[in-house]
């Protein structure tokens, strides 16, 4: 063997001459990394456990309902598409409590945020990417069971037009729910770099507000003031979604006595939902104005 073919070559430092895809690409990469992270993908095995279990729990009732509907040749699914997320709101709450702090407070706690802001992306891109990622993760969690229900309903040969309409209304409803809930949860968890606080605060805000609203609503129902019931729904996230879908998406309200808001009151619900979404976006932007470097 000639001596010169056995040399070890130190190729030294090579400059990068390839493309630099810039700000939009970086924001998309951050979005996909955060979305994957919300299901524990690309992270340790331990962090996959909880989101995957919750995903399973979210889908299990849908599978059972479909199985029952197919087996008994029922005329309709036992639960409306729009009602499904309201019934399983505890699971949604748990998922958010676990994943919203994971999405934002990790970067704050380990002070990784300055590394992002010393790169082409701006504050706005960071906030949008994180917001979109968590909303998409939540949409996957809430929309997937609906797909299971829909496919099952078609397999059980239920009325196609009827089911498609219900499915579409359900999708709109969970989309709105995903954006609203993830906005609220992100603002809460971005306040503190401590993950534990974030988890507790998200659970507290979601469950306490719902508990308070439904208790007061029950009292109002006892006293027969049905007008008050529909207005009270404005004060917790899940009853807001319930109100919107009762007024506009053909849902049956889960309020006591099915006293959902009328179309007029429903408009107020929509406005409040939009205001909350915009407010949480603005709140996040404000938060990261301080956190840069």
């Amino acid at each position: 063997m000639p001596a010169d073919s056995t040399q070890i070559h130190n190729i030294g430092y090579r400059h990068y001459e390839g493309q630099r895809l810039g700000r939009a690409y970086a924001a998309r990469s951050l979005f996909s990394q955060s979305l994957r992270g919300a299901y524990g993908l690309g992270r340790s095995a331990k962090s996959k456990v909880l989101p995957m279990i919750l995903f399973g729990v979210m889908c299990a009732p849908a599978l059972i309902m479909v199985a029952v509907a197919v087996a008994t040749k029922a005329n309709d699914l036992p639960v409306d598409y729009t009602r499904y997320a309201v019934l399983l709101q505890a699971v949604i709450g748990l998922y958010l409590a676990a994943q919203a702090p994971q999405t934002v407070s990790r970067d704050l706690r380990f002070k990784t945020v300055p590394l992002y802001f010393s790169r082409p992306i701006e504050r706005v891109d960071y906030v949008r990417a994180k917001f979109a990622a968590l909303a998409s993760a939540l949409f996957i969690l809430t929309a997937f069971p609906l797909i299971v229900l829909y496919v099952g309903a078609l397999l059980a040969k239920l009325d196609f037009a009827d089911q498609t309409k219900g499915f579409a209304q359900g999708l709109v409803s969970v989309a709105l729910l995903s954006v609203l809930f993830s906005g609220i949860a992100l603002v809460i968890s971005a306040v503190t770099p401590r993950r534990g606080f974030g988890i507790a605060a998200v659970i507290a805000v979601l469950t306490i507000s719902y508990g308070a609203v439904s208790t007061v609503q029950a009292i109002a129902h006892e006293q027969g003031s049905s007008e008050a019931i529909s207005w009270l729904g404005l004060f917790s996230p899940i009853t807001l979604i319930d109100g919107v879908q009762t007024a506009f998406l053909g849902a049956t309200s889960a309020f006591p006595g099915e006293q959902g808001p009328s179309t007029g009151t429903g408009l107020v619900y929509v406005l409040v939902v939009l205001a909350l979404i915009a407010g949480s976006y603005a709140g996040l932007l404000r938060r990261y104005r301080k956190a840069g470097l």
């Binding site: 690409y25 990394q33 082409p120 840069g292």
Partner: protein, 349 residues
């Protein structure tokens, strides 16, 4: 590479930068100042992240106020504080940061592997960062600043928290970033002494004002001092003294090394005017029949330059006096810091 023009940054309570005008060329530039002197504020402005109260600044010919995004695409930044998530591996983390700088996925992976190898991380790069030593973490931080092949990197206190060996390695690495990788460096430190070995140019700021800006060769190489150490022989029981005598006969003045360091009395210091002095010393030692243990160029320390400079500077009397006073104070603290540092180094070894 960097130019600022009467750059000021005022917060409600403090003035972080006060009409700072700088012009920094390619190479390794040290930015020295005490904690709170305005170093981090300056870097923040240069990255286009916070607008200056007044004045202008340009990095790589791009205005920081309007073209921050383009600057950040071509500049790397290594923060002073910890910034690494403990539960991911160095590879995963640096790949993600490369993509955040706009590198396509395949290129991001390739550049990550290259960069981590260049900063000296090998098999451990697949382990979670949480288990790394401080030195390894600093290397990961440096790697994420270099992964997108910037034209300029800002390194904020890269030697913080390192032991003397790690400090030397990091300084060597920084030097290589310029000499081998061709990337210009702006490195901050509060230790003047550690920058003189690494930097081509040193900028000293204090209280947001420019104290001094000169190249390290100006600082330290205007006169080359030669340190010579010889053995003793039977003929000349005190070789050092014999050499001193012989050199004096040839008209070369010598000094004691002094300073009370161990072995200092056995070193002869002399001013090397030109190449001939080296030959002369060699010949004299050979004639005396002594063994030449070492003959080395001894560079002045930046701190000494500050000290001797006290009476030299001109300008407005009040201001320059004040400035040189501060410079002297600086030199003293820097020298003290360096002494403790080398002392520590000896212990560690």
């Amino acid at each position: 590479m960097i130019a600022t023009e009467s750059l000021s940054m005022r917060f409600p309570r403090v003035t972080a930068l006060d009409r700072l005008s700088l012009d920094i060329g390619p190479g390794v530039t040290g930015l020295v100042g005490a904690n709170g002197a305005g170093k981090s504020t300056l870097i923040k402005i240069l990255l286009g992240l916070s607008p200056a109260t007044e004045g202008r600044a340009a990095v790589l010919g791009l205005d920081v106020a309007t073209e921050g995004g383009r600057i950040r695409e071509r500049v790397g930044y290594m923060p002073e504080h910890d910034c690494l998530p403990p539960d991911v591996s160095a590879t995963e983390f640096v790949v993600h940061m490369a993509r955040m700088s706009g590198l396509p996925p395949a290129a991001a992976r390739e550049r990550t592997a290259d960069t981590l190898r260049h900063v000296g991380l090998y098999e451990e790069r697949y382990r979670p960062i949480g288990g790394y030593s401080t030195g390894m973490k600093q290397r990961v931080k440096l790697a994420q600043a270099l992964v997108h092949d910037p034209q300029l990197v800002f390194l904020d206190e890269p030697t913080n928290g390192l032991d003397p060996v790690g400090r030397d390695e990091m300084l060597g690495l920084i030097r290589r970033v310029h000499t081998d990788f061709g990337i210009s460096v702006l490195v901050t430190s509060h230790l003047l002494g550690e920058l003189e070995r690494t930097c081509d140019h040193v900028v000293v700021i204090d209280g947001g004002k420019l104290l001094r800006s000169s190249s390290t060769t100006d600082f330290t190489q205007t006169t080359a001092t030669l340190a010579v150490e010889v053995t003793d022989s039977d003929e000349h029981p005190d070789g050092t003294a014999a050499l001193r005598e012989a050199l004096k006969d040839r008209g070369v003045a010598t000094q004691d090394d002094g300073g009370g360091l161990p072995g200092a009395g056995h070193t002869v210091l002399l001013e090397a005017a030109d190449e001939d002095t080296y030959d002369l010393v060699r010949d004299v030692v050979a004639d005396l029949g002594l063994g030449l243990v070492r003959m080395e160029q001894r560079r002045h320390h930046i701190a000494e330059v500050f000290r001797t400079d006290e009476s030299g500077s001109s300008g407005k009397p009040d201001e320059s006096e004040q400035l040189t006073e501060r410079a002297a104070a600086w030199a003293a603290t820097a020298a003290a810091a360096e002494q403790t540092q080398t002392g520590g180094g000896r212990d560690a070894r």
